[in-house]
Assembly symmetry: C3
Homo-oligomer: 441 residues x 3
């Protein structure tokens, strides 16, 4: 995300409106500062509710891809993690993410102040060119997205309470620290010129690394790898997973589009429009590539790979959705769509059990999208690599510490009996589909 | 909802734009009346389609929480009630809700005129600062929401035709009369200074009272209470209920945010932003409180209580989503989230059969939200209490009359055989999940 | 769709702002060109993401109405067709649809140039009054909608690969040619004054004709008509179909509302508002009529007919959602809602197997909506009839050619064994509901 233009262009425009002597072509694009403020705020609000809606997308995607006996638990985890993220980002997260680093700071760790107020909607806000509350809301839903990624990978074998505690730390500290380095103007932004427009690394890889470390520490689901061979645990509800993917796709217009952070000028709203098109086309390409690849490789057009192809295309274009031409976006997204087809089997070969394929989609495609930014955007490959690696080190170490503490204190996994019965029966006490599955007993 | 500013600030702003001599800080926030008109209208349109979407939320929530054998009927009731609400609010409801009370009127009953025209989109509209049609659309979807609440409580045991007739009267007369007292500028507004920003009482309690009266007259589902003990009828599809809750949460940004009724000024759009944050945080708090409460009380984190906690938090903040600080909103929503945990068992002890928990969520949390307004907003406790009680008396009496007439004329409940078979087979003729449930037979 | 006003009114408005001597009532509605540009672009973006969301609506509607054994395939087809439409509309479709016909052209076939660039978001865009990329996005999602209609009718018996190839041709050529005649300013627009505001004919009938021809060439599903009698194949998931209908209804506010193509003036945004109301009320009327009609005819209130009634009402009002009064809209939509009740049995009598009822909903109601335009709008019955017939001839012939070529080259239908097993097992390799349906085996 770039910094918002603080009335540079709009101020000139207002002048132009009041001064008929100025050239007409300047006046033609004029937007008064008050009007620009409303547009910018509206962009955050629309973008915010679209990204909030992605929480439902993750919930449906994951509910559709787990087995019936763990579905209620997965639903609970998803609505719970969004809620925890909201509270934690308010209590502390936002202040860590946007700390206003001092001059002597390396820009690595900082904090802005006490609990974020947001009560004032008066004069001070006007200087920024948008409502502070609208910006906060937009940032908060990104924080929740990061946590959603973790829940998918670790599904079906982690207890509810330690999962929620991990989410608390992730959204309060781990994710905000990463954000501070880049969008908060810290180390990666100021020293390395790292570029991550809407969060291929900051959001998706962060979630992906936390998920990967969790998967390694938790181990695979019982019965998943038997005698070195993969046992397929088919998802329970493919239309639900499809719905989740469409929801995420829709939400991504807010995720990428509103990361322009402004639409109060003709240039900004045109950029938002181009981002919409590039975002959409990267996803289209991801789907088509995944379908063709699985048709060629397995003689079947794999629907879950098509869904993951859409998501991987979206993750890939997220690091730079504005600079690419449509042709670039198709290539970036298309290669993104290939990554799950390649990496899902690799993870299984490594016996890393990723229930919904979140690691190929969010981590691998996130790295791909970040490293390809220099092709079209204003960044260096080295700077991008440093950003990827620093994020990896921090998130992996911090996550591992938290996971190991939780494992020591309360244990992460339910008993084998509970896992075989399904978590729904024991952890939330409510079966997801009692009228359909009881006949199996 | 407050009255819309009729070009007060914008008019000054327009002047400022045309007059460079005025102070710069005034000019900086200037929005021309035409621009403000578009923004205000756009707020109604966006808010309107988000609240319309809540109809899908109620449909999914209820379809997920009834048993499979009544699911198709529940879907039909939900799309039907929205459609009836639309027609009835046009035929008569809007005119009752916004009657333009005469001077001698007590402001209790009135009517604006004949069928609402809305053809004219020309000059007259401009005086209001927004398109009349956009406002009508926004008001209509609120009317539909009220009816949605009733369908959840009474599910699985009321015939389709009397249900639809009740909805007709509710949306044509019962709800609009309540609205007229407050948003229409009638008795509660002018005499008691009653305050209900987006409808904790006007929408949610109204629906809740109608549902409660209906539940008392209908009686519980067959086999629900046996030998004084509750028999659990588990919901058939928890992911669908989760989806419904997320849809409602999303829609609530429109419900509360657009109830600001204007975003054509810097102040208004900043207020809308603050409402978004407070609405979101109240729901987050409701979820977390419900999860913690059920974990402590039952040693299980109850997913349906988490869903109801979100909704109760949302209902609670609806009476005043603007005045509270974020901290206030969290407390108001958090206590809201506790109410279903407390009141669902109480209702069952009283043998009041509320299939989806709509009475705790919409009625109890609606009363809570209304009575707590004086803590942060501009209202008195007595005024709020009068509003709650007057709504109770009117809606309960009017609903009871309609329910009893319907019971006498055509009967409300299907035969015991139909109820045991499920309403789907007999009333709509279409099973909801024929491929899954037939194996049970 | 009408042509966008190219700064006519806004230019005057800007002048008014800068000139206090002008009459106040002109100044009151003034919107600067820059501001109007942002509003117009925003309308395309909001309308665009709402129509994109309709892809999910079609997916859910169709996934809900097919049998469980074909559900995964149907999900794949829907996400695939949207993606193909995006790519094809970029490669060639848009250029065919908006060709800038030469003076000697009959306006029947044309092409604008090479692959649509969209890179430039600078000066040139400003002349149009909106971002070109936003317009392209809005047009692209319409193209995808057309393809969605075909997938529903032909479900459960067409192989994935030929289906996708047909979609490729449909979205690259067949649909764009139809668009060029009317919205592209070609033959129907310039010669016949044909009027189709948002696409009752251009989108819905085009999809409907392609589906009808496909259904005739494919033939019915195995076992559908036995001894001249219809065998009911019930839909597998009614709540999903209901969800899909609500999604489509929501998306239609973008489909019709944003087809106003501008909201940068007080008049335009008021028109968009009126379109919202008319669109909503036509759907409401369609639902109520379908419920009453099935209750009277079959003594059951058929939920799938209620869903189709909503959609048929929406299709019917799409040709002219602005000119009608609300009363007109209710009549147009109500009659629309009756059409599936009448035509679904007729199609079955003709042994045309339309799995989801797309032909009555999109083709028949689309024709109805197109022919009734002269009642309220600016068109002649003859002109409308020519539009309907020309579209019929072109789409039927072109589709038949493609279907026959595909049939000859690779075959359209799977083997009888595959069809009886369900396409999911063989074509995509993933069962939709493995935990629910395996017990049937």
């Amino acid at each position: 995300m770039k910094n918002i233009l603080k009335f540079g262009v709009p101020a000139i425009a207002a002048l132009a409106l009041a001064e008929p002597a100025l050239a007409q072509d300047v006046a033609a694009d004029a937007v008064s500062p008050g009007t620009a403020y409303i547009f910018n705020t509206l962009l955050f609000l629309i973008g915010g509710f679209l990204v909030m809606w992605m929480a439902a997308g993750f919930a449906m995607l994951e509910a559709g891809l787990v087995r019936a006996k763990n579905t209620s638990t997965q639903c609970l985890k998803n609505i719970g993690l969004y809620s925890i993220a909201g509270l934690m980002f308010w209590v502390i997260g936002y202040n860590i993410a946007y700390p206003g680093f001092g001059e002597d700071s390396m820009g690595l760790f900082g904090m802005a102040g006490t609990i974020y107020p947001m009560q004032e909607v008066g004069g001070a806000d006007t200087d920024t060119g948008y409502s502070v509350a609208s910006d906060w809301f937009f940032q908060m839903v990104f924080c929740a997205t990061t946590a959603s990624i973790v829940s998918g990978t670790l599904a079906e074998r982690i207890k509810i309470v330690p999962f929620f505690i991990f989410v608390t730390v992730l959204t309060a500290v781990i994710y905000p620290v990463v954000v501070s380095w880049e969008w908060g103007g810290g180390y990666l932004d100021s020293v390395w010129g790292f570029s991550d427009f809407a969060g291929s690394t900051l959001v998706h890889s962060t979630g992906g690394w936390a998920a990967l470390v969790g998967a390694l520490i938790l181990g695979p689901r019982l019965g998943r790898y038997v005698d070195g061979k993969l046992v397929v645990f088919p998802g329970t509800n493919i239309p639900l997973a499809t719905l989740g993917t469409f929801i995420l796709w829709l939400g991504w217009f807010g995720f990428n589009g509103a990361s322009q952070l402004a639409m109060g000028t003709v240039g900004d709203v045109s950029d938002v429009s181009k981002i919409f098109v590039n975002t959409n086309m990267a996803a289209c390409a991801g789907v088509v590539v995944a379908i063709i690849a699985t048709q060629l490789r397995y003689k079947k057009a794999d629907v879950t790979m098509a869904l993951n192809g859409a998501l991987a295309g979206l993750v890939a274009i997220t690091a730079e959705p504005l600079a690419p031409s449509v042709g670039h976006a198709i290539i970036i997204g298309g290669i993104g769509g290939l990554l799950p087809v390649i990496f899902v089997p690799i993870l299984d070969k490594l016996k890393i059990d990723d229930v919904v394929g979140a690691i190929p989609v969010h981590l691998v495609a996130g790295i791909w999208g970040t490293l390809i930014v220099p092709w079209t955007g204003d960044a260096t490959f080295v700077g991008q690599l440093v950003g990827v690696l620093l994020t990896m080190v921090w998130v992996c170490v911090a996550s591992a510490v938290v996971w190991f503490i939780l494992k020591a204190v309360m244990g992460l996994r339910p008993s084998a009996e509970v896992e075989m019965d399904g978590l729904d029966m024991h952890e939330t006490g409510i079966e997801a589909y009692p009228d359909f599955t009881k006949h199996a007993a």
